[in-house]
């Protein structure tokens, strides 16, 4: 029968259309949700990655080759100083009063004690010429202490965490061979090679100047593969390469470094000073040079562009106190301050919030007044935190004279998260079945007993969710805290003591341009704390759920 088969075909088409529709809708929904999750994952992953690893472009005149015994002498420090290697200008700075402690050099908190052996001894002479060049007069800083011999210097370094000394490499080897306190010694390799160039090669011509060069380009340049400075963005000048004087310490250092150099010296000068002068006064010349000679002669140098990788978030960062506005040190006190803040805020906000919700749901007469109150709570929940911060500053800090401190900050935060806690607790209490409350009342329990023993336990998971939401907002809060809690990064000593928390630390590190890396690692700690908090709370809720 044609009619029947037509009908059947219609039905089939209809059902296949429905299947397609269903599949399309499902696909779109699935696509969107996967997209959202991927974006979230990317954000968290990016912050975690940036927090854990750093990868910085470094720009410096120094080439990466580091010598542990340049010219037969070594820089030794106590092993409590975390220093893998040192660039010549920094070493120069240590001995010329540019630094007074290690914090800017190695992020350590020790005072600096640079030692040098008396100039009557061989290594004293060597140290002077190593730092200040062969022909110059040494300009020792006032912090530098002269010791009579190498043995005294080594013992001082072994026993003083902030001490550094330049002694002969042989003496160091001997001391280490003896063992004992020598395990405290640490030899720091020095980077002292640079590439000096003639002034006209780095001059700005037509608003252009020489690029910063990466290692590969430097190798090509020094290997003679680049004919004109123009190729490197510089002026239109032929490249001429100067070879270090044969037999000089510079020549042997370059040979040891394995850096590219042309085999035949061009117009080889004999004396070191002539070599420097030939580059400085030449045209388009380039050649290897020690930092000390650069320092003494003021010759121009190339800038090397390098990438430095390493661990950003280390145990030391978690366990050390911050110093110098967080530029160095860690965040231990800030983590503790954050925990204090969370505990105090919960202690203030949770009882008040739950009590308010109980009142609104179980006691207050529902009517227009209640609706206005509800609207008010909802509006409060949406008010920007900076407004709460201003209010907290005016009311708690100024009028009540609490000052900048934990108490003012936590009270402000409590005000800020109360609406969230009240609203979610209200919903949770509302969702407790009336039959449970009736059951309790019918047993002769009073209203208060019913609320405390039946309603609140039954609503506990919802109430806890509200608390977590509130605390999540509190732990990430910055604006409300800067005006009320202050930003002292020392450990809070009491309710009225100013305290910096993780979120404001991230903000200040970022806003004051102190360190992006540190801001990211602090952010990572913050994220991990929030995740931990959520995880623990979830377990609590699950455990409660399994009891029900």
């Amino acid at each position: 029968m044609p009619e029947q088969s037509k009908h059947r075909a219609d039905t089939r088409r209809e059902s296949s259309r429905r299947v397609v529709q269903e599949k399309a809708a499902f696909g779109v929904i699935r696509g969107l949700s996967i997209f959202t999750i991927v974006i979230l994952g990317l954000i968290v992953g990016f912050i975690l990655y940036k927090g854990l690893r750093y990868s910085n472009e470094t720009r410096s005149a120094m080439l990466p080759y580091a010598e542990s015994a340049p010219d037969g002498i070594s820089l030794i420090v106590n092993n409590q100083v975390r220093l893998k290697n040192i660039e010549f200008p920094v070493l120069y700075g240590i001995y010329t009063d540019e630094y007074i402690n290690w914090s800017k050099i190695s992020s350590d908190g020790f005072d600096l004690l640079p030692l040098v052996v008396d100039k009557s001894k061989n290594e004293g002479m060597k140290a002077a010429s190593f730092l200040f060049g062969e022909d110059s007069v040494p300009q020792w800083g006032r912090l530098v202490k002269t010791v009579p011999d190498a043995a005294t210097a080594i013992i001082t370094v072994e026993t003083t965490p902030g001490a550094a000394a330049i002694v002969s490499a042989a003496d160091v080897a001997e001391a280490i061979g003896k063992g004992g306190l020598a395990s405290k010694l640490c030899v720091v390799p020095v980077k002292r090679l640079e590439i000096a160039v003639s002034d006209d090669a780095v001059a700005i011509v037509d608003n252009k100047s020489l690029d910063d060069l990466d290692d590969a380009t430097i190798a090509r340049l020094m290997g003679g593969e680049i004919a004109n400075w123009k190729e490197l963005g510089g002026p239109d000048l032929p490249v001429r390469l100067a070879a270090p004087p044969a037999g000089s310490s510079l020549a042997s250092a370059v040979a040891a470094s394995g850096y590219k150099r042309i085999a035949t010296p061009l117009g080889a000068p004999v004396k070191s000073s002539d070599y420097v002068a030939s580059i400085q006064g030449g045209s388009g010349e380039a050649g290897y040079l020690f930092g000390s000679d650069v320092q003494a002669s003021g010759v121009s140098t190339l800038t090397r562009k390098g990438v430095e990788n390493g661990w950003n978030l280390t145990w030391n960062y978690l366990l050390e106190e911050p110093r110098l506005s967080g530029r160095v040190g860690g965040i231990s006190t800030i983590i503790l301050n954050t925990l204090f803040m969370l505990i105090i805020t919960i202690l203030i906000a949770a009882p008040i919030g739950v009590a308010a919700a109980v009142y609104l749901i179980e006691y207050a007469k529902q009517g227009p007044l209640m609706n206005i109150l509800r609207l008010g709570t909802e509006t409060l929940a949406g008010i920007p935190s900076i407004i709460f911060g201003l209010f907290g500053y005016l009311f708690f800090v100024t009028i009540l004279h609490f000052g900048f401190g934990l108490l003012s900050g936590c009270l402000t935060l409590s005000l800020m998260i109360l609406p969230t806690i009240v609203r979610t607790s209200e919903e949770a209490l509302k969702s407790v079945p009336g039959s449970l409350l009736e059951g309790s009342l019918a047993l002769g329990a009073t209203k208060l007993q019913t609320i405390v023993k039946v309603a609140i336990p039954a609503a506990a998971s919802g109430i806890l969710t509200g608390l977590i939401l509130g605390v999540g907002r509190a732990v990430g809060e910055t604006a409300a805290l800067i005006f009320t809690m202050g930003s002292d990064y020392k450990l809070a000593k009491g309710l009225f003591s100013s305290a910096r928390v993780l979120s404001s630390h991230v903000y200040l590190l970022f806003a004051e341009g102190i360190s992006f890396d540190r801001a990211f690692s602090t952010a990572t700690v913050l994220i991990v704390i929030v995740l931990l908090f959520n995880f623990v709370a979830r377990r609590l809720i699950e455990r409660m759920g399994s009891q029900q």
């Binding site: 039959s435 009342l441 019918a442 029900q548």
Partner: protein, 272 residues
């Protein structure tokens, strides 16, 4: 059900032939709607009184009047008199808490609290001030819990998991738990609002047997949708319609020889 094993049940003398409840001219309004009209009834002690009628006829409302559960609803207005053991439950001197302790109520849907079986039973005694601080007090509470569970015919099924959540019990078990919970407060009257309507036939049968047992020691008023149930378990039956108590008589009489035409129509299944 263990017949005759009632040594644990609190002994009550069968002295009063007087009515447990005496209700006179009871009117009840929900805002403007009158839900009960001039209801008058006498509930005899140690008997099961069943209240039947179609949905919305006021039988549950009436039951809730007896332990003043309607107090919880704001817009309710009540006129008339309800005497419980001769005292007016609406008089200002009446302590509602004490009243509800004496008059237990079991609801249509099992409503165990989200806590352990033990804590469910112990809830009533605890809110009435039984503190299980000393060992002796704890033993007393343990005994009370066990006795209540035995009397609600649930003990054997749950004795191994007293401290597990009550939410894991079956519907029928939950309802018997709710009965046990009421018994633990040692009441005098049991009000039951369609206690078996959410249960399967086997659970229903268990509860009906239980009712028969409980009747020896308690006065029971049961609201039911199920006329067979009323016929099976009750001693006297009241038929409600549109807020009026149409007829109240011993069960056999009401079912086999109804005086009112409306009763006859209802029980013969012409409406409702």
């Amino acid at each position: 059900m263990k017949d005759g094993d009632d040594t644990g049940i609190k002994g009550k003398t069968m002295e009063t032939a007087r009515s447990k409840f005496e209700v006179q001219d009871l009117d009840l309004w929900y805002a403007q709607t009158q839900a009960l009209k001039k209801v008058a009834i006498q509930v005899s002690p140690n008997a099961i009184t069943a209240l039947i009628g179609p949905s919305g006829c006021g039988k549950s409302t009436f039951l809730r009047v007896l332990d003043r559960m309607n107090d919880l609803i704001d817009a309710v207005r009540i006129e008339g008199k309800v005497l419980y053991d001769g005292t007016d439950i609406f008089s200002p001197e009446t302590d509602v808490i004490e009243l509800r302790k004496r008059i237990g109520m079991v609801f249509q849907k099992p409503n165990p609290f989200p806590m352990s079986i033990y804590d469910n039973i112990a809830y009533g005694p605890r809110v009435h001030g039984l503190k299980a601080r000393s060992g002796a007090e704890r033993r007393k509470l343990d005994e009370l819990v066990e006795r209540s569970l035995v009397n609600a015919a649930l003990f054997d099924e749950v004795k191994d998991r007293l401290h597990k959540s009550a939410m894991g019990l079956s519907g029928g078990q939950q309802q018997r738990l709710c009965i046990a919970r009421v018994l633990a407060v040692e009441p005098d009257v049991l009000l039951m609002d369609e206690p078996t309507s959410a249960l399967d036939p086997i659970s229903t049968a268990k509860i009906e047997t239980l009712l028969d047992e409980l009747k020896k020691h308690y006065t029971i008023v049961i609201v039911t949708h199920n006329m067979q149930q009323a016929g099976r378990v009750s001693d006297s039956t009241g038929f409600f319609l549109h807020g009026e108590l149409v007829e109240f008589a011993p069960t056999k009489e009401l079912f086999f020889n109804p005086k009112d035409k409306r009763t006859e129509n209802y029980i013969s299944g012409r409406f409702g």
